[in-house]
């Protein structure tokens, strides 16, 4: 008699666990950086983020893995999608981190993402405190520089905070408040092609001025509520891609209001709702994104577990055109440098 077993650990959307060496071009690859040693605050716990987001993705996996020749229907748009395949999405697990050693952790995570992107895959990197976004972008930047030396990278930062300090606390240049600043200094990242969505609460002037001086744009949570998620996402996406070939998107889950998402370090009480964020991400998903990350999920601050589920859903929303093949009449997404098909309304969402 055949014995059925199921994996003893959770991979993202129950995708196959593979070695980085076995990653193939065109795949979507999930990896994790279980590290919160650059946070230094009371509300730590993002080190458990990657595995928690994986667990949180399992409910969604049930739906996305339903095998049906008719495919899945997105009731928001009426679009049809083929169900998720084991070829399209794989999980390479977590890269090694060193709890007391930020530079060594940086090297490890950056190399991991570099290896993924170098193989022609789309990287979804799960943090970690928001500092780990920098090693992820660093690995992406290096791989792009190697394969396409002339390619330029735009940047969209979805977060309740700017993370654009030069020094998070005096003398500290590598913290979860400096990651975007360090990314802006990468050679193929275009500083004037950086966009922020979701700023809320008190924010120091210095980083705001630095962003605007560099040509970046900032949209606050209030901008999203008032102008609508679609308009703001388009303005941010257009700004990031205008002079660039690819966009790196970072999603700090604390962009969500604490009433919906308590499980994160720096909570906000005047932020956007999951519905608004989902719309922002659906619009951005049609842009030529090269790699993305999801940061700051801290499960010990949310016993209900919903923080991981929301983060997983948001990751899938942003990566969806790359995860699920469209089987309806609309033209396939073309993801080539300089392509502007994302500007056409039918290609969105």
């Amino acid at each position: 008699m055949k014995t059925d077993t199921i994996s003893p650990f959770d991979t993202f959307l129950r995708s196959p666990f593979v070695r980085v060496d076995d990653v193939r071009p065109g795949q979507v690859v999930v990896s994790g950086g279980p590290f919160d040693g650059a946070q230094g605050a009371e509300r730590f716990g993002a080190r458990s983020g990657p595995d928690h987001v994986r667990s949180g993705s399992l409910a969604l996996a049930e739906v996305l893995r339903t095998v049906d020749p008719e495919g899945l229907i997105d009731v928001d748009t009426g679009g049809r999608f083929a169900s998720l395949s084991d070829e399209q999405l794989v999980d390479v697990g977590n890269f090694t981190t060193y709890p007391t050693d930020i530079p060594r952790t940086t090297d490890s995570l950056a190399n991991g993402v570099y290896q993924v992107v170098k193989r022609g895959a789309f990287s979804i990197f799960l943090g970690g405190d928001h500092y780990t976004s920098y090693p992820s972008a660093l690995g992406f930047s290096r791989a792009v520089a190697e394969s396409q030396p002339r390619a330029r990278i735009g940047y969209v930062h979805i977060d309740g905070h700017l993370d654009f300090w030069d020094e998070g606390t005096p003398g500290q240049r590598f913290t979860h408040a400096t990651n975007a600043r360090r990314i802006s200094e990468l050679p193929n990242v275009v500083k004037s092609s950086m966009a922020w969505i979701g700023l809320t609460g008190p924010s120091a002037d210095e980083p705001i001025e630095a962003v605007l001086r560099g040509g970046g744009v900032i949209f606050s949570a209030r901008d999203v509520r008032r102008n609508g998620p679609r308009e703001i996402a388009e303005r941010a996406g257009d700004h990031a891609i205008a002079q660039c070939d690819r966009i790196y998107v970072t999603l700090d889950i604390d962009v969500l209001d604490s009433g919906y998402l308590p499980g994160t370090g720096s909570i906000d009480n005047n932020a956007i709702t999951p519905t608004l964020l989902r719309e922002v991400l659906a619009v951005l998903s049609a842009y030529p994104i090269g790699a993305m990350d999801v940061m700051e999920v801290a499960p010990r601050l949310d016993r209900s577990g919903r923080s991981g589920s929301i983060a997983a859903e948001m990751a899938v929303t942003l990566a969806r055109p790359r995860l699920l093949a469209s089987i309806d009449a609309s033209p396939p997404r073309r993801d080539v440098p300089g392509d502007r098909s994302h500007r056409q309304p039918h290609a969105r969402g």
Binding site: E42, T200, G201, D205, R222, D257, N270
Partner: protein, 353 residues
Amino acid sequence: MPLVRTDATEFTGIPTFMRAPSVDIEQVTPGMFAVAGVPYDLSARVPGARYGPRAIRTASSNLFAVPDGLNEGWTDAESAGRLKFRDGSAFALGDLGDFAVTALDWTTTSREVEHAMHETASAGAIPLILGGDHLITLPLITGFQEAMVKAGRGRVGYLRFSSKLDLGERDEILGDTWRGATNRRILERNVVNPSNMVWVGVGGFVPEPEFELVRSRGMRAHTVGEVRSDGITAVTHRALLEAGAGCDTVYVSIDMDVVNGAYLQCQGIPSFRGLHNVELQEAMNVLSGSAVGALDVVGVNPLPDFWGQGQVASYFAASLIFYFITTPRDCGRGSFSETFQRRASTTELREST
């Protein structure tokens, strides 16, 4: 190297509210915002609000270290305006610690809290009280009003953010003085003129006699429905005008149960028709620009809200008080970047001329 740093990580140091100086009553100066806790919760359905003052103080360490100042170089993301403490260079915040509470004896507790509030208000401070269950508002407003009478400003309005009216009669178990009768007792003590007793955020089921009392005595209750149709800012303005009509000052009480139970896990009796958390923060905008003479925040129960729920209620309560002691935010029509840049250029212009 200093031995002690106020700008260190938030889990270090003695957790006074926003790391303000710990003061005793002799050090309270006129105009000072004086924080005090009232860790009493024996009238609550679910005990735990006795831990509220400590939890709010701990959460407040995540905000600003008061000694380091705020007046230069901070922006509020909502309005893109400059974030400043109220009263500019005259701004002062002190933490008195907790008022004396005799755990099992409401009569003594009530007398002591009333006296402590009287002393604090008499010193000219604007008391910021961390509760405690909402019965504590009874001795607090009584002590506050007595102090105002002595100062020749005895006409006090009363504005309460709560999902309930708390105008109940005697409770079979808890007696005459219990949380659901807080405002009935305030009414009977004549510390406030009924027409200056105003509620914002009343929702869900309210006993008919209580609503009838509001009508017959000329009190005002603004419902959640009214907030939905007119907006929280307009309703708060309206309520503040009504509470302050003919008065010298207004006492404001915020019961956390006014916030929709979907956002906060601190409530004994959550209401799922309550205000959005954002709305209560917007109401603080109106309050911070007005002549509110005392503020209490009650009903923060950290037990169901602790680590496993992200301590959301404690952080929320701390941020409400933070927005009360900063200048009101003028949310204009421009986007964040436009408003910020316009502000920056006018500042430069002013500084260069």
